[in-house]
Amino acid sequence: MKWILFLGALIGLSCGREKFFGDQVFRINVRNGDEISKLSQLVNSDNFKLDVWKAPSTFSRLVDVLVPSVSLQPVKSFLKSQGLEYSVTIGDLQIYHEMDSIAGDFPDLASRVKIGHSFENRSMYVLKFGTAEGGRRPAVWLNAGIHSREWISVATAIWTARKIASDYGKDPTITSILEKMDIFLLPVANPDGYVYTQSQNRLWRKTRSIYPRSRCVGTDPNRNWNASFAGEGASDNPCSEIYHGPHANSEVEVKSVVDFIQEHGNFKCFIDLHSYSQLLMYPYGYTVKKAPDADELDKVARRAAKALASLSGTTYQVGPTCTTVYPASGSSVDWAYDNGIKYAFTFELRDTGHYGFLLPANQIIPTAEETWLGLKTIMEHVRDNLY
């Protein structure tokens, strides 16, 4: 009976707060009535701005509560002092919850599609944005989080997902883009790595795959694509951060994307989000040789960088990967380009080294907002130059 009262009290809370990526989801185990009232006290207190995701029921004594980053310390202390048992659930759940929420809020436009799974068997989900049933419309692929420590790329992708959905029908640019093309967005291309950065090592980059006779874990998923695989700008040392893996597409996370895109067959644009350095690049990474479409891609990239800079003055350098950042073989963007996806770009988001991978949470929304202007510029060009 007490459960029902508790349920009522908790559901009464509504949070119109902006999603913030320092947040964690606490799973609290309430074992008796006393603990229920202690938890209610915490949740009802306005100080912490807690958001209940899953309330207890007759069948479950587990309460999932979203705790904003600023409240993490005090909430932890409170739970500890009251003897309340809890665990911190892993980060990717939050992303998938949000994807589900977007698909639920915009059912005519967005759907969550499972494209495969990771080495540690986590699901890989994309959000598909499309305005027409059936057929294989020309499509855009937005890739993020392939290097797990680059959190700003995941955050930007998720913000962008909601932006696409909310602006459709209101903003003429995205509306006209979606009238002609579908957009597929993969916010966490490396879920195992992402979870590892949340729980074990914030600066982990690679996948978490294990191969026999190697005492090091993980492959660099952005050296594992079949584009000059094992060429210059990758390593055959399994302990290296740029280890290319035993063979191309050895990483199931990479293979899942390759299979999906090849099966679809009509992608025209592939954009990969990374951090950091503030660069907007196009093929090739695996050679200094000029790509056949380099001139056009350079023009588009410069327009996109200009649009991005127009918001807050954030400057991006533009150029081919190999000479702009460093040689890199087996990269996603080079693979896409060599497989007929002409508009292939890499973004290295904020900043230029001050915070690096540990970009403060208060820069998430400004980064996402300015990047959006760059993304729209590219997608507009694709829309107007379909081939």
């Binding site: 950065t197 914030r202 005492r215 090091c216 740029i242 150029g319 460093y326 540990l358 970009l359 949470a361």
Partner: protein
Amino acid sequence: MPPRLQPPPASGTGRPRAAVLPLALLLSLALQGVAAAPAGAGEPEDSLRRRDPELPRGLLEQAARAALHFVNFRAGSPSSLRVLADVLEGRARVNPKKECQVDLVFTTDCYNPEEGEERLGKCSARVFFRNQKPRPAINVTCTRLIEKNKRQQEDYLLYKHMKQLKTPLDVVSIPDSHGHIDPSLRPIWDLAFLGGSYVMWEKTTQFLHYYMAQLSSVNQWKTNDDAIDFDYTVLLHEFSTQEIIPCRIHLVWYPGKPLKVKYHCQELQTPEEASGTEEGSAVAPTELNNF
């Protein structure tokens, strides 16, 4: 302010845009024949970014970063650390031993800019990279960003703040996973960065450059004597290999006095048992210190 990767428009032999290069330096650059000139008489000495395939990409920025790490270390002032704003001009020469000399002019900004404050400094430097051996030789002069008295005042305030921190320090990582640095702990980060600058200067080559990603642990923080005695571990991010390198640093700092630093960085794991990861003479110098 992000450093420009494109070199500035080459203007012949690097004639300064505004009266920047002191005449003495200009003369010494013209007169000094440090390295054998590249084959072919009359080869112009402007920025050689893509003309000479032997020169690594972004060489000018590389040299600027090395020079700045050195400037920061030498100044020994956690309150007036500088970051790279723009490379204005530069030129590079490679000798037959593949050693690389870079002469350049660049602008700097405050590491911790106060709200709305634009404090652009200017440096001219000669950086000598010793073909992937560490410890590039650096000759650099900079305009004063902050007036000397003000700098000493700020340092002393930081020092007093540090002396008041409760020991042992309850520090896990700075910044935390979300890039947050508690304002009360900011001086610790700045001091750690100062020590890190020494390490990053020594380790920078024409191909390798570093950023300080995180202060991962504080091993010891002693302030009972006059100076701050700080033993800690940082994680450096090397850009071209994308490696994260833990470095244990031990420094002693007192405002106005030269910084004393000792350090040891971990080398990359190899799949084999034998270490075999010596990068030429890189191992010995990592033990080098100026105590």
